[in-house]
Amino acid sequence: MENSATYLMYIPLFPLLGAVIIGLMHVFTCKRPIFEKFYGIIACIGPILSFVLALRVFFNLKGMPEEGRYLIQKAFTWFQVGDLDVAMGFLADPLSSLMLLFVTFIGSLIHIYSIGYMGGEKNYAKFFAYLNLFLGSMLVLVLGDSPVVMFVGWEGVGLCSYLLISFYTTETENVIAGNKAFIVNRIGDLGFVLGMSFLFWAIGAHGFDYMALKANAHHLAPGVALTVCLLLFVGATGKSAQIPLYVWLPDAMAGPTPVSALIHAATMVTAGVYMVARFSFIYAHVPVAGSIVAWVGILTALLAAIFGMFQDDIKKVLAYSTVSQLGYMFAGVGVAAYSAGIFHVFTHAFFKALLFLGAGAVIYAMHHQQNIWKMGGLKKKMPITYYTMVIGALALAGCPFFSGFFSKDEILFMALANGHWGIWLVGVAVAGMTAYYTFRMIFVVFHGEPRDQHAYDHAHEAPLVMTLPLIILAVGALFAGYLNLPAIFGGDQEVTHWLAPVVVEHHPHVSKFVELLAMCASIVAFIIGIRLAWQRFGKGAEEPTFSGFTEFAYHKFYVDELYDSVFVQPYKRIGGAIRNAIEPNVTDAPIKLVSQLYMMVGQAFKVFQVGFVRVYAIYMIVGLSVMSLILSFSLN
């Protein structure tokens, strides 16, 4: 078969094998550590090999005719029960190949960066084992040819996210942040599993891989389709940190910075967007579901942007900006602009990874200081980091001709073109806010005077293993946007065309004037945002105090506290009540009753137990006597 490819399974297998090898080495050598770079180099082999294979997949696909452009490998029957037949199968089509490319590329870069960043850490090997495991799981997620296989990767990345967030396990807060991430993700996973179940009972009987599902999607009743869409979207909100399940992502910054860059910015959190795009054949049938997705996305973008404007932890700022950008992506896929959404995933991976790695370099230089109000003036000390980060910030803020501009603008334009005025308006506002908080961070950290002179004196530029990935990513952040240059700039939207066979979307025809107008609105928003930031923070500013609305926003609208008092505390309290009140008093009641009954009867009969053999004989005789009397009468 021309579409079968036996090498697909090796793409996730390489990092997974790396994880097993490093993990075993760690277990056997953690008491007697060997040369630490050794682990790092082994860890980098897997991702790089996967990247090479991903390139091979890409060029193979490119050589194929557009209609049959997919590669498939069914490794073995995973399980088969009744009608449910799930193969451990891998599918590479334009969508997954695009994801593959940037996941393996950025994954490899971050592995290299981590060799430097994690230097001297105690659990060096463990970190790389987890990182490899994560990459393997992410590749399973991307390549899985059925929702169930995808779910394996889906949960696998959740696990690795948990392990890496709580990587510094001696601190309770880190572990709690990890737990929070895992549990909140699990809430989303519940939606995913239920969505899969409903989907299976509706149309899964003739095969439960994407090919078969896509072929049978038109049999789906509208109500079921809506249910499936919403349940799957619950899964996506968990993984991709959307309202109402976004709360775990800011806390997830407790993990090492490369983790934040790889998992919580570039790859894992975009899995939800990828999943919605994967299921575009269902979402396309249910516009209502799409609108819900889009609105949730854009509201998340707004909310996270508001929070982002008041954070003082450099990583938290970036975390909220990630949530916010993820919101854009969902707005994109929600308005059926799947290629635009995925394209934003693609560009975002570059500039957000870049920003995180840059922030990591800063944190590394400042000896694990993360509060931006303790930094300042680092521009002179860390020029490479500064310039690369500025490129990243410009891309994030949507500066024209940087990658973020093209992708974000595409989303907003598609929202407008498909008639979602509200989403477009909010989107433009958020774009301005994005520019504001991004440059607030840049100005406070790199400009002005140093606020902590001691730390400033010891700050220095990061080593080459760390700056090299920064530079590569900066190049990506600069030019990734040109892959999907819209027609208005003379491009031919290559990514959109590449994805066209997979995702179900249609391009409404809108006049050039509207397109230009929309673009101008975005640019204006960007300029206003960056100007405000310059005014306030450009020349150095002191840590502000908050009151009123700003205080409310600074405390993130008290959402964490709300969740804690509405879900967590009652849960624990019910548990305590069961333990202290219900178990001993209610469910144990019958058995206590029985034993008390026995005790009472026993006490009553104790009277007869006088202890003299003769008396027992008398009892017997009395019994016999009574029986005899009765029998004598009955004999007559």
Binding site: G611, F612, R614, I618, I621
Partner: protein, 98 residues
């Protein structure tokens, strides 16, 4: 005819029971039990005569063997108890109290 023998058996059996429940002397109680066994033996033999089969005789023999065994054991127990308590009163031995 046989009925009279059975009547005698019943009477002896009841007297034996009376001895067991109304006396406190260990020896008397013990011999009352022997009396009950003998009453049963008489019934066996009588029935044997009635049915003209000798199985009853065999059973009577067995009962005698059991009675002998019982006598041996019971007397051993009586000696032991007498050694322990110096009394022959059944009321002294009230270890069965719950």
């Amino acid at each position: 005819m046989i009925h009279s023998y059975l009547m005698v058996s019943v009477i002896l059996f009841c007297i034996g029971m009376l001895g067991v429940i109304s006396r406190r002397n260990v020896f008397t109680v013990f011999m009352s039990i022997e009396l009950m066994l003998n009453a049963a033996n008489l019934a066996f033999v009588a029935f044997s005569r009635l049915h003209e089969s000798m199985d009853g005789h065999v059973l009577a023999l067995m009962v005698m063997a059991v009675a002998a065994a019982e006598a041996a054991l019971a007397l051993a127990v009586v000696i032991l108890l007498h050694k322990h308590k110096g009394k022959l009163d059944t009321n002294v031995f009230s270890l069965l109290k719950g």
